[in-house]
Symmetry: C2
Subunit: 399 residues, 2 copies
């Protein structure tokens, strides 16, 4: 593996690279070998770095302990014949990239997962994952939801989008799909965190939805291109949803549901944990009610969700990278920012036209600019912030 040739930087847009090419290839390879959330490998990574861990798994080292021997043996079988460069090429082919910890686009709040932090993230879509995730909330729930659950998830997605929040979910049937769809229908920003490769349309019936999320939002996965989901991957994916967002809202969940895993993980990470109640006669609300009898907060609409997560403060602000001054914005974001009128609000279509870009691209940039404090969304319209934040004042230049 260490002899593989590099076919170019997997990052687009000239982002500051923290991982060198060898490390990046090693992490990419490790995502194909190691199951998500493996804390043993996470600890090795922390102590040895990805290149040494990759060597160990390729057979060039002794197992570190009796306990790790068995797991190593399994991983070594997978380590044979890997071609991470091909995976990097495959993700680029679908408009994606591979993010490593330390990359400018890496969402630093994932570090809260400790040794269970993803080894890397395969990402598909235009926007910056880091900036979008800063102002995001998870809406999750039962696959086999009722009409009530689907209605609530759709309404929540739309309401959060209209208030300028990014909606994160798992792209599954039921509540997840309804949350993504409600968000997209309101012209909002949504992230699908998958338990398979970002080029795998799973579930099959959501192929079209997943395609739309990739075009207008972001798809994120720990698993490399073409990887398929398993039961444990679904469960482990949930910790990424919880860690990425400021809070998790559960809409319908039975006892022992996967959504409760997400909620409990969010709770453990200090994120806001919320649940939408339903009839006590509905088994699909039983898990939510159990949650609400604990530490979770009952919410009935998007306003109540925002009231709670808005007060949580920025994620891991003490570890955020340098504040982005206006002069450091990339050219595409600057064009979009300059397309906003000085004192009025306007819609995405007009901003896109004036910036000379497509509206999906304009929307991606607007959500980034919002995360950075330059612009605000009000319903369907965008305007310059009154206070563009500590990152420098936006020039009030007209189009």
């Amino acid at each position: 593996m260490t002899g593989s040739s590099m076919t170019g930087s997997p990052m687009t847009g000239g982002a500051r690279e923290a991982a060198d090419d060898e490390q990046r290839l090693a992490r990419a390879a490790l995502t194909r070998i190691v199951e998500p959330g493996d804390e043993l490998v996470g600890a090795w990574l922390r102590r040895m770095g990805p290149v040494a861990v990759m060597r160990l798994l390729a057979g060039a080292g002794k197992p570190l302990s009796e306990a790790s021997a068995e797991r190593l043996a399994g991983y070594r079988l997978r380590a044979a014949g890997l071609d991470p460069s091909a995976d990097l090429a495959a993700v680029r082919a679908v408009g994606g990239r591979f993010l490593c910890p330390g990359d400018q686009e890496w969402p630093q709040q994932l570090d809260d997962l400790g040794d269970a932090r993803p080894i890397g993230l395969w990402v598909r879509g235009r926007p910056s994952l880091r900036y979008w995730a800063l102002r995001s909330v998870a809406v999750v729930g039962a696959r086999a939801c009722t009409g009530y659950g689907a209605h609530i998830a759709t309404t929540l997605g739309a309401g959060l989008a209209e208030a300028g929040w990014v909606v994160v979910s798992g792209a599954a049937y039921g509540v997840d799909g309804a949350a993504h769809r409600g968000t997209l229908a309101a012209g909002g920003a949504t992230i699908g965190v998958l338990a398979c490769g970002v080029d795998v349309p799973y579930p099959r019936g959501h192929a079209e939805l997943i395609g739309r999320i990739a075009e207008r939002g972001l798809l994120v996965a720990e698993l490399p291109p073409a990887a398929h989901p398993t039961r444990s991957r679904f469960v482990l994916r949930n910790r990424v949803i919880a860690a990425l967002t400021r809070g998790t809202v559960v809409v319908e969940a039975e006892y022992r549901s996967g959504s409760l895993v997400t909620a409990r993980c969010a709770q453990k990470l200090g994120r806001a944990t919320m649940g939408v109640p339903g009839a006590v006669t509905s088994g699909l609300s039983a898990g939510v009610h159990e949650l609400l009898r604990g530490e979770a907060t009952l919410v009935t609409d998007a306003a109540e969700v925002i009231e709670l997560i808005g007060s949580v403060g920025d994620l891991a602000p003490e570890r955020r990278g340098p504040v982005v001054a206006r002069d450091l914005l990339d050219p595409a974001s600057t064009r979009v920012l300059e397309a906003l009128p000085p004192r009025a609000s306007t819609d995405v279509r007009r901003i896109a036209r004036d910036a000379g870009t497509g509206s999906d691209e304009a929307l991606a940039r607007l959500y980034e600019l919002q995360s950075l404090g330059f612009v605000e969304r009000h319903g369907e319209r965008w305007q310059l912030s009154h206070d563009p934040g500590p990152s420098g004042r936006a020039r009030r230049g007209g189009p």
Copy 2:
């Protein structure tokens, strides 16, 4: 008024009387003059006693302050031509009595209301209000409830009854009626706290239900016989429900509903406050959800209610009267206690037969004996307590 003749003790069963006849007549008269919860009159009662307050209202004194003058004038109009002895006779005619603070049957937890404590209570039914209230919980909610709310209230009433709890409600349409009916259907104990006289079947459509409660349970009112309800009397009645019980469960309530008054009052008095969630799309659950977003606890069934109120401990235990030893039980209760087999459980019908009494009477006594720790209810069956409590060990005598 002070010249009215007494026609005999208004208390049945030889209870220890704290109020002398003159005081009792004065309090009975005051319930016809003073609106429930009047804290000004409550303060006068505390400082002067009922006879002096009655003299004041009959015109034999000057108003105590500028502020009180207007209210006094209104009350003085009502004070003319009162005949409290006739009221006492009227309540006796329907199998009732008039309780004053200090009476053995007076529920001392009502003293938590301070100067808003009821002046006296008109009571109808066989059981001891004090003993029943010691192990009681309020189930309240919307009059115009949905089928869901009615179903929940019925189920809760039955579940609480089966676990030996006394269900208190307001005898209104909707949730209240369903709670009473569910309790009665499970052969349980229920108390209706009315905003009118205990001989007034209000609402008219609940005449039959109110009659059954009087026969098999208790009706309680601050207002004298024949008095009619008003909007403010409904609201003020709620504080009695809250103070009487160990906790209040709200089943469906709109914003600004009267049930929320009961819940907030319960909260202020340190009682458990609970709500049953519903669909967030239902306006009839909006008030409950608002409550649950505050200090109230979400409950989904009777077991969860009992878990909470069971841990609250006895009401105002430090001010409870002398513990009742077995030898001090009245003859009717002793007969029922002796009808229970030594080591097995049995049903009410059999207990009534062996005690030589009716089954309503037997049930009333059983709930009293349960409050005192002598017996336990398990579903439809009753048995002697393993630990009859500090009040003396029940003799394990067979029938």
